[in-house]
């Protein structure tokens, strides 16, 4: 029902290989270090700690934020915005709920979604002025272009494949649950139920390791 039927093939779980546990441990150590830096920023307004965080995350966020099209702020400006928010909102950081890395990427993703949606609205308003039909939400910039499937698979390793598939389609490929149902040829009820069950598992995991 939603436009955009020229959809590329989604990542399938079979294409994905797991990460070894030594690499996972190294990652965890890096995360702990980043989180300690953000706690310093939060509790003491520590500029040195922020400088470190900036050096670590500004390039990654710049890489994630793709070109936003005509009249948009460039990825660099968006990354600056996001990092500024890390500084100004640091006191809202709760290390029990998320690692610094997850928290910063959440800010980046939300900032990007807001920009994308506001651009889409402007483009649609312009098209209406030109008496054209407004276009659907642009799927050309989905996260699939930026994320490494193997790393995502690790997060989804305890989730049954048919449930993991809907999570990848939504979180990585940028499809709504209605589009996922149409894409997989299953009912809307089945899709909702797979999402519900996948979240149940993921939430248990989110609480402890992320």
């Amino acid at each position: 029902m939603y436009p955009g039927s020229d959809l590329p093939d989604p990542i399938t779980m079979a294409q994905i290989t797991p990460i070894d546990s030594a690499a996972e441990a190294r990652e965890q150590k890096r995360r702990n270090h980043e989180t300690a830096l953000l706690v310093q920023v939060r509790d003491h307004g520590d500029r040195d700690a922020f400088e470190h965080l900036f050096a670590l995350f500004a390039p990654r966020v710049t890489n994630y934020v793709p070109s936003l099209g005509v009249d948009a702020e460039g990825p660099d400006a968006v990354a600056q915005d996001v990092m500024l928010a890390v500084w100004t909102k640091a006191r809202l950081f709760d290390a029990d709920k998320a690692s610094a890395r997850t928290w910063i990427y959440t800010l980046a993703r939300n900032r990007y979604i807001d920009l994308k949606r506001s651009q889409q609205r402007e483009a649609n308003a312009f098209q209406r002025l030109q008496h054209d039909s407004p276009s659907a939400i642009d799927k050309g910039d989905r996260a699939a272009n930026y994320v490494d499937a193997a790393a995502v698979a690790e997060l989804l390793k305890d989730v049954p494949p048919e449930q993991a598939e809907v999570i990848v389609l939504a979180f990585v490929e940028g499809y709504s649950h209605r589009e996922i149902a149409e894409r997989l040829g299953v009912s809307i009820g089945t899709t909702k139920s797979r999402i519900r069950l996948a979240f149940k598992k993921l939430r248990e995991r989110m609480g402890v390791t992320i």
């Binding site: 029902m1 100004t88 809202l92 928290w103 910063i104 939300n110 979604i113 930026y146 649950h177 999402i195």
Partner: protein, 217 residues
């Protein structure tokens, strides 16, 4: 105000990820604005989205130095939550809703009378999704119908029953092509709802189908 009917996790996930057309986005923004439990679910979905990016985005570009000029003074710390779901406090009523989410004044809404104590106001239509307001007098029974796709209804004022389920201000009814329902307004107040409907409604009765041609819902 206690909310009893919430959007499903699938809708909240779509909302958190910004994957929805504007009409559904507007309804969910209004609901989560007054619903702490859905805000908390959205925040969790956002963290999961952040985590997936954090795991997946394995770039090792050369770090850039921080620009000391961009850091504001500590006393300018923002106090809003870093979430797409913004807390607007308690439900501020119909006029507040129209001002905040439809970005207009309630006086400027163009209502059409359908007879029998029913009025509608069409707002937008984009990508085959219509957003519209419905106002019905106390005791009004709407024609039985189903849908061609998804439909979200947010109760703004008053209350209605669908079967045994009571929907009050702040509640969301989540319907689709498998839902077959006949809302009935209850209580002494008129009931006003905002709906986003994919495709058209499919009515049982001939009279309702004829009326539908005139109002285009």
């Amino acid at each position: 105000m206690s909310v009893n009917h919430h959007p499903s996790e699938a809708w909240l996930m779509d909302y958190a990820l910004g994957n929805l057309p504007d009409a559904f986005e507007t309804i969910l923004t209004a609901h989560v604005g007054t619903c702490p439990s859905c805000r908390s679910d959205v925040a969790l979905d956002e963290r999961l989205g952040g985590e997936i990016l954090a795991r997946g985005n394995q770039t090792h570009a050369a770090p850039r130095p921080v620009d000391p000029d961009m850091l504001p003074e500590v006393d300018s710390f923002a106090d809003d939550l870093p979430s797409r779901a913004v807390d607007v406090g308690a439900n501020g009523g119909f006029d507040f809703f129209v001002r905040t989410y439809l970005k207009c004044s309630s006086d400027s809404l163009r209502w059409r009378r359908l007879g029998g104590g029913l009025q509608i106001c069409r707002l937008t239509e984009e990508d085959n999704i219509k957003m519209w307001l419905l106002k019905a007098r106390p005791g009004k029974v709407l024609p039985q119908h189903t849908h061609e796709g998804s439909e979200l209804t947010l109760v703004l004022k008053g209350a209605y029953f669908c079967g045994e389920d009571l929907f009050k201000a702040g509640d969301i009814e989540d319907a689709d092509e498998t839902t077959y329902h006949q809302p009935m307004v209850t209580g002494n107040d008129e009931c006003i709802c905002l709906a986003a409907t994919e495709g058209s409604l499919k009515f049982d009765s001939l009279v309702a189908r004829l009326a539908q041609k005139f109002v285009g819902i």
